[in-house]
Amino acid sequence: MAEIILQNIIKRFGDLVAVNDLTLYIKDREFLVLLGPSGCGKTTTLRCISGLEIVDEGKILIDGKDVTTIRASHRDIAFVFQLYALYPILTAYNNIAFPLKAQKYDKEKIREEVNKVAELLQIKHVLHKKPKELSGGDMQKVALGRAIVRRPKAFLLDEPIGTLDAKFREEMRIELKKLCIDIGATTVYVTHDQVEAMSMGDRIAIMNMGVLQQIGTPYEIYTKPENLFIANFIGSPGMNFINCEPSRDSNGKLVLKLLSDNMYISITNKLQNTLLSKIYEDKKLVLGIRPEDVTFSMRKEKNYLDVKVYVIEETGSYNIVDVSLGVEKIKVRTIPTIKPDIGEAAFVGFDMERISIFDKETGNSII
C-alpha cells in the first residue's frame, strides 16, 4: 500500500484541457473520492494515475517512486472499470486469476489466492460461470476480486457501482467501503454521485472543468464550501443563494442588504470584521445557506424575513418548503408535520453561525 502524489499534472486532448494543473496528495490507506459532474476530468485523472493515459505535464509518484512515464502494467495498481470489463471468454475463476497469470504464479498458488478472494467476496458459487451468466452484483464482485487478488499498491475505481439499481447500490456502497477498510488499501474512487462520495470518502476532491475545486473531509466540504460551484453541487437540495451587499444600519453597524426585497439582516461581529478587513464593503456578495439551517415560522421574530410559501415538496422524513423571498426562491427544510398553504405569508430565520458568504464576481468563499 502506498501514498499517491500528483504534482501539477496537465492532460490535454487536442485543444481540450481535460485536467488542468492538478496537485493532489493521497495518503497511504486513504479512501479518496474524486467527485464532479460528467466531463470534469475526474476519470481522466484516474486514468493518468493508472498509466492508461500519460500526462502531458507534471509528475506522478506512487509510493515515493516517480511513475510519470511508466506503463500501466508496471505501476502495480488495480483498476475497476464502470462496466467491469470482465473478459467474456473466461470464467469468473479465470477472470480473477488473470492478473496472477501475468506474474507467472504456479497453479496451486493461483487457486489458493483466487479461493481466498472468492471467500472474502462471497462469490465461490459463481466461479465456474462466464460473465454473461452473472448478475450485475456478482459481475461487480468478480471485477473487484480481479482487482484485489494481486494486492496492488492502490485501487482505482471508476464509478464501479454506477450501473447497479438504486437499492442494490446502497448495499454495495457499504460492502465496498467495508472491503476497502479491511484490505487497508489506498483507494481512489471516481463518482458523480455526491451521496456515494459523502458516505464513502475519507476525503473528497471535487473537480470541475478539469480544475480541482476543493479537497477535504465530507464535513468540511459540506459546511465550508470554497466556492459557489461546490455549494450548489453538494447537498440535496443544494445550498440557497441570495444576492446581497454590505450596508450600514441606523446605528452604523455593518449589515447585509438583500437585493431582492430591500430587506436587511444583521450579521455576527466576526463576519462584520472579516468583511471590513478584506475590503468587501462595496462589493456584491452572495449569501449561501443550507435548507436545514433556515428556520420556518408562522410568527414574526427578531431578524426574521417575510416570505410567501411557493410550493411544498414532501419526502416523508422531512419536507422541503419553497418560499419566495422577493424575486428569489429559497428552500427550507422542515419537519414533515409543517404543511403551510401555498401562497400563505410566513417568516424564515437564518442560522447566522452557519451561513456562507461568496464574492459574486469570483464565486469564491469569503469566510
Binding site: A85, P88, I89
Partner: protein
C-alpha cells in the same frame, strides 16, 4: 383473428422457403451438371441432348489422376493380360481403349494449391489482424487517409497488373514459386482483411485491453489473449474470403506458374487428350477441386453468419 394472423404468417413462411428452394436449385444446377458429367462413361459424355440416366462409372476420376496413351489400331490386350491388369487399368481399357502410362499431375497441382492457399491465408490473417488492431487502437496521423490508401489497392482489376507483376517476378526469380504466389495473393487480400478486421476489432470494448494492461500484461500479450479470442468470428469470416479468393484465382496462377508451383485452376482447363477434350476428367477434377472450399466454409459457417453481417448485430 389471432389464428388468421398466424395462418398468414405460415403462408409467408412457406412461400419464403419455397423461394429459397428455387434459388438454391438454380445455383446448384451447374454443380449438379459437373458431378453428373464426372460419373458418365466416356461414350456418353458428348451426347446431345445429355443423357440423364446411365450406369455411373469412376473412369473420369481415374483419368484425371493418370497419364494415358491409346493403343495402336488393331492392337488389343489378350484376355489373360486383361485379367492380370490392376482394376483401374482394366476400367480405363474397357472405357476408352487406353493404356495407363504413369501417374498424372493432379495430386501435385492439388498440393500446390493447398500450399499457396494456406500460406497466403495465414499471412493475410496475421498481417491483416495486426494492422487492423493498429488502425483501430493506434493514434496514427492521417489514419483515414492510410485506410483509404490501403483500400485503393482493391480498386484496380487485378488482371490489369498481370504483365508488370510478371516482369517484376521474373526479375526477382519468383515466377513459378510457391512464395511468389503466396506473396501475390497476400498482397491482394490484405487490404480486405484490414478493413474487415478493423470493423470487428472496433467492436471489442477497449476496457478489456486496458484492464489487462493494468493487470500487468504487455501490449502484445493483450493482443494475443484478449483481442484475438474475441475477434475469432472476424478472423473466421476473413479467412473464408481469403481462402476462396486464393483457391479460385486463375489469371495470375496461369501467367506466373508453369510447372513447379502451378495450382489447380491454372492446370485444370488443359485436359486435352489424344481422343479430344476430356470433359469427364475436367468435371471430375473440378468437383474434387471444389471440395476443400466447401468443407472449409461448412466448418466455419457458424462464424460466417455473424461475420457476413460485419458486426451489424450489437450486443
Amino acid at each position: 383473428m389471432k389464428q388468421s394472423v398466424s395462418k398468414k404468417k405460415n403462408i409467408v413462411h412457406f412461400l419464403l422457403i419455397f423461394l429459397i428452394c428455387i434459388i438454391t436449385f438454380v445455383y446448384l444446377i451447374p454443380l449438379f451438371f459437373i458431378v453428373h458429367t464426372s460419373f458418365k462413361p466416356w461414350v456418353h459424355i458428348r451426347d446431345y441432348p445429355p443423357k440423364i440416366l446411365f450406369k455411373p462409372t469412376i473412369t473420369s476420376y481415374i483419368r484425371i489422376f493418370t497419364s494415358r496413351t491409346p493403343l495402336p489400331p488393331g492392337r488389343a490386350f489378350s484376355e489373360e493380360e486383361v485379367f492380370n491388369m490392376k482394376w483401374y487399368e482394366r476400367l480405363i481399357y474397357k472405357d476408352t481403349n487406353e493404356e495407363i502410362v504413369r501417374k498424372g499431375d493432379f495430386p501435385r497441382r492439388y498440393l500446390n494449391s493447398i500450399i499457396v492457399v494456406i500460406g497466403s491465408t495465414l499471412t493475410t490473417i496475421i498481417i491483416g489482424t495486426l494492422a487492423a488492431y493498429g488502425f483501430s487502437r493506434g493514434k496514427l496521423k492521417g489514419k483515414d487517409d492510410w485506410l483509404f490508401f490501403i483500400l485503393t489497392t482493391r480498386m484496380l482489376p487485378p488482371v490489369v497488373v498481370v504483365i508488370p507483376v510478371f516482369l517484376m517476378f521474373r526479375a526477382l526469380n519468383l515466377t513459378d514459386t510457391h512464395i511468389g504466389l503466396i506473396l501475390l495473393y497476400t498482397a491482394f487480400n490484405v487490404s480486405f482483411a484490414v478493413w474487415v478486421m478493423k470493423g470487428f476489432i472496433d467492436e471489442i470494448p477497449i476496457e478489456y485491453e486496458e484492464a489487462a494492461m493494468v493487470d500487468g500484461y504487455t501490449r502484445f500479450q493483450v493482443f494475443r489473449k484478449i483481442v484475438v479470442p474475441q475477434a475469432t468470428t472476424g478472423i473466421a469470416a476473413t479467412s473464408v474470403f481469403c481462402f476462396i479468393y486464393a483457391w479460385n484465382e486463375y489469371a495470375f496462377a496461369f501467367i506466373l506458374s508453369r510447372k513447379y508451383a502451378q495450382t489447380v485452376p491454372a492446370w485444370l482447363p488443359y485436359q486435352m487428350g489424344v481422343l479430344g477434350y476430356d470433359w469427364g476428367a475436367a468435371a471430375g477434377g473440378t468437383f474434387l477441386f471444389l471440395l476443400p472450399a466447401m468443407i472449409f466454409t461448412i466448418i466455419l459457417r457458424k462464424h460466417l453468419v455473424r461475420g457476413i453481417t460485419f458486426g451489424a448485430i450489437r450486443k
